[in-house]
């Protein structure tokens, strides 16, 4: 067809401008593109919670990456003369049991704690989502194998994993090894939750119709099933970030943490535990730092989850 004849010319009934009902049937292609993630992004930009949590996260990231901007005190200088000292001009939040500056240690600990949180979360989510999605969506032997592997991994007590991993790397204890110790055996929880959610979603009408239309299974999984079952994963991921940072503290408490050479919130909390009755502030301040960080991430997770849920968006 060399040239398109004018539309009106092909009409045998009334000219197009005479039927106002036409708009109902036309597919609007000129309007903005509809895409789940694009829609989510548009939605997110209109919400104040997004900006609040975003600002906090940004601030924490700056602290983590450039702690020296926020304090000039050497966090590794500890002097027993100052043990459990109260707040003063030189030491805003007081001193720890060992006589180190609480504020400086919180600032310098942010990097380690965030790194542990991110690495563990990334590891757990990545493995958990892949395994959970495959097990739930494809079912049958894939489900049997992956779920049972998950059972084996999950039944291994994390303390055993931590002792083994931290012992094997006792000369190179860093955020990577401790993240591995925390995360390597935690993914089955995420996987199982996603699998359960997919089991209930994959029989939904829109999946059946997509299959009927001949959409490939992997496309159905990525385009339809996953977005509709991801909500609980986002929820446990945001809390899991907090749990990972706290787990580092528990491992320190049990003696298989990063060791006193590394400054982290978890280490600070674990070390301050003995001063619960004599100097609770050395415990409370790092806990507050941890809580605020976690709150920011949970709020952000909430915004994202809402935005990814087309039904909830439609209601607003």
């Amino acid at each position: 067809m060399p040239s398109n004849p004018p539309l009106s010319a092909t009409h045998f009934v009334a000219p197009i401008d005479e039927t106002p009902l036409l708009g109902v049937d036309t597919v609007s292609i000129a309007a903005r593109k509809s895409n789940l993630y694009l829609d989510a992004w548009r939605d997110v930009r209109g919400r104040p919670l997004f900006y609040i949590s975003g600002a906090i996260i940004l601030l924490i990231l700056v602290v983590a990456l450039m702690p020296k901007l926020f304090t000039r005190i050497d966090p590794t200088y500890c002097n027993l003369d100052l043990s459990n000292g109260g707040p003063s001009a030189a030491h805003l939040l007081g001193s720890t049991f060992q006589g180190c500056d609480v504020y400086a240690r919180i600032i310098f600990g942010a990097g380690t704690s965030l790194a542990v949180g991110f690495i563990v979360t990334a590891l757990v989510t990545l493995v958990g989502v892949v395994v959970g999605a495959i097990a739930g969506f494809y079912g049958r032997w894939a489900d049997a194998v992956l779920s049972r592997v998950g059972d084996i991994f999950f039944s291994i007590p994390y303390i055993l994993a931590a002792v083994v991993i931290m012992s094997l790397f006792s000369s190179a204890r860093n955020v990577w090894t401790i993240s591995l110790a925390i995360g390597a055996f935690a993914w089955p929880s995420t996987a199982r939750i996603l699998r359960g959610q997919i089991l209930s979603v994959k029989n939904a009408d829109y999946v059946t119709s997509a299959t009927a239309l001949g959409v490939s299974p992997s496309k159905i999984l990525l385009k339809h099933v996953l977005p509709n079952s991801i909500a609980p994963v986002i929820v446990i991921t945001t809390i899991g970030l907090a749990a990972a940072i706290v787990a580092e503290s528990t491992l320190s408490f049990l003696g298989v943490g990063l060791g006193s050479g590394t400054i982290s919130w978890g280490n600070e909390i674990s070390n301050a535990q003995g001063q619960l009755r004599t100097n609770p502030s050395s415990l409370i301040y790092p806990s507050i730092a941890l809580s605020v960080t976690v709150l920011a991430f949970i709020m952000m997770g909430e915004v994202v989850r809402d935005a990814l849920d087309p039904k909830a968006r439609a209601r607003r």
Binding site: N79, G259, S260
Partner: protein
């Protein structure tokens, strides 16, 4: 069995009710209600080995075996030995001993305690293939072998109440050892089935286990008074209920709530509060525990003349007074030698002990002098096992070194004690490491010989000094303890110059007890003298 369990539970409930009644009645318990049948509840930990005396080498099991067995001697609170089963222990040359025991004594199964009960038990404990953890205690007796089965030819039964011991060498303090767990007698029934015996031992001590199933693993063990015991340790109470706690913190909480009567070790986290939590009912006295860190003899920069200077500098850079005061709240006593203040022969002012005092200027000077020989590189680390509550003081010591000498210094934790011990035993450790020694028997030699004599069993730093070895040997050959101790003090002078380990402090025994018990005294080995405690 079910019925028995019920009885036990209701007894505990009754005891709890009594405590409650005592609380609600007012502050002062009525003195008239003191009874010799009340059971004392004390803290303990699950024994790590079967309850066989020659195989019990840790406090969890030792607390039980020491109370259900009676040896030739026992130790008074100050550590001086008093005859228990023994009638007399005699020697003329510090090498051949004749031991007579009191006649008519019995094990709780009715069997007589004879010279043979001792000799057989020691033979069993020493025999290589029996792989007893305490076998090394018999190494000084003739015939002992570490690598093959060989009977102790030095032991001879003379008659039913007499036996003789022939030692390989002269050893002045041999009689002092005989109160240690490893030297307890065993009844003949033990040798028939040692496994069964270890689960439910039959002894001759002031207490006996309540029933064959009294040892409830990981929960508790109940001991009752042994009516057949006629020795000097006659209990003033009705028995002991030793509750096994996973942590000292848990035991401390129980003491606070009133369901535990006596706690023999206050956890580090409560050191700041225990005297106010239990006003007038606490104990804080030096004990026979010596704490140090060892710098291996072959560690880079710590050998030869340079090493000597660096060792002195490190030692003088540790502010022992401040650390014991702040970190331990005064429950450690800064070290002035290599032994312990509760041991006869201890001296506060040994020549050369100035090196154990905090002295930043001298420390810096010595460090600089060492740098002149060979400049310092790297970091000074102290290794420790992370499962033992050592982190706080290791951090404080390394901070003190770091702040004084201006070098990098930190703790190096090993997750488990097993891993920590293995790298020390294999000599693969490349840092300094924490060491501690609790005496088995109250004698100076026990703090020196096993630790610093050339190739000694616990010489983890491979220290070797001909002068020190000679002085030790000379001291052991003396027949009276006082003149032996003079030589041992001289030997410590050698250690103070070489510093194979850096002495830190002596652990005090820190205990606390409830309102209902009285006469709580701690022995030299930091365990309460349970037999003397009364309750009411």
């Amino acid at each position: 069995m079910k019925i028995k369990r019920w009885v036990a539970i209701s007894a505990v409930v009754a005891a709890g009710a009594m405590v409650l009644a005592g609380c609600s009645a007012g502050a002062s318990p009525t003195p008239t209600s003191t009874s010799s049948t009340a059971v004392i509840t004390v803290n303990g930990s699950e024994p790590q080995n079967p309850l066989i005396p020659t195989n019990t080498n840790e406090t969890g099991g030792g607390k039980i075996t020491d109370n259900i067995f009676a040896g030739l001697v026992y130790y008074k609170a100050d550590g001086s030995p008093v005859n228990d089963v023994a009638e007399s222990i005699k020697t003329t040359d510090a090498q051949n001993y004749t031991i007579k025991i009191k006649p008519g004594l019995k094990f709780t199964n009715g069997e007589a305690v004879t010279a043979k009960s001792f000799v057989d038990a020691w033979q069993y404990g020493a025999l290589f293939s029996n792989k007893q953890l305490n076998s090394y205690f018999f190494e000084s007796i003739q015939g002992f072998s570490y690598d093959k089965d060989s009977p102790l030819t030095g032991l001879k039964v003379v008659d039913s109440t007499t036996f003789t011991v022939a030692l390989v060498d002269k050893e002045a303090d041999f009689p002092l050892r005989l109160g240690y767990t490893a030297f307890m007698p065993l009844p003949a029934v033990a040798f028939k089935d040692m496994t069964a015996f270890g689960a439910s031992p039959i002894g001759n001590g002031p207490y006996k286990i309540k029933s064959p199933t009294a040892w409830q693993h990981n929960v508790k063990i109940d001991l009752v008074v042994n009516p057949a015991y006629t020795g000097p340790r006659k209990p003033k109470n009705g028995g002991l209920s030793i509750i096994f706690y996973a942590t000292e913190d848990a035991a401390y909480a129980e003491l606070q709530s009133g369901s535990l009567d006596v706690l023999d070790s206050v956890p580090n986290t409560d050191l700041a509060n225990y005297t106010t939590d239990f006003p007038g009912r606490t104990v804080n006295q030096p004990a026979a525990i010596f704490q140090s860190f060892t710098i291996p003899s072959n560690l880079a920069h710590f050998t030869g003349a340079e090493g000597k200077l660096r060792r002195q500098a490190i030692s003088m850079a540790v502010n022992r007074d401040q650390i014991t005061k702040v970190i331990f709240q005064g429950t450690r006593t800064p070290a002035t030698d290599f032994t312990s203040p509760v041991i006869a022969g201890y001296s506060k002012n040994l020549p050369g002990s100035g090196v154990l005092k905090y002295n930043p200027t001298e420390a810096k000077k010595a460090w600089a002098a060492a740098d002149a020989i060979s400049p310092w590189t790297g970091s000074f680390q102290i290794a420790y096992n992370a499962d033992g509550g050592h982190q706080a003081w290791v951090d404080a010591v390394t901070n003190s070194i770091k702040n004084t000498l201006g070098i990098d210094s930190s703790g190096a934790p090993y997750p488990t004690f097993a891993q920590f011990r293995t790298v020390i035993t294999n000599r693969t450790i490349k840092t300094a490491f924490r060491t501690g020694w609790q005496a088995d028997y109250p004698a100076l030699f026990n703090f020196l010989g096993p630790l610093y004599a050339t190739k000694a069993g616990s010489n983890d730093g491979d220290y070797s000094s001909a002068a020190f070895d000679a002085l030790l040997k000379q001291g052991q050959a003396q027949t009276d303890v006082a003149s032996a101790n003079k030589l041992f003090q001289k030997a410590q002078g050698v250690l103070l110059a070489d510093l194979p380990v850096v002495p830190l402090w002596y652990s005090n025994v820190t205990g606390a007890y409830g309102k209902t018990v009285s006469n709580v005294k701690f022995g030299w080995n930091s365990v309460p003298i349970y037999t003397d405690i009364s309750k009411g």
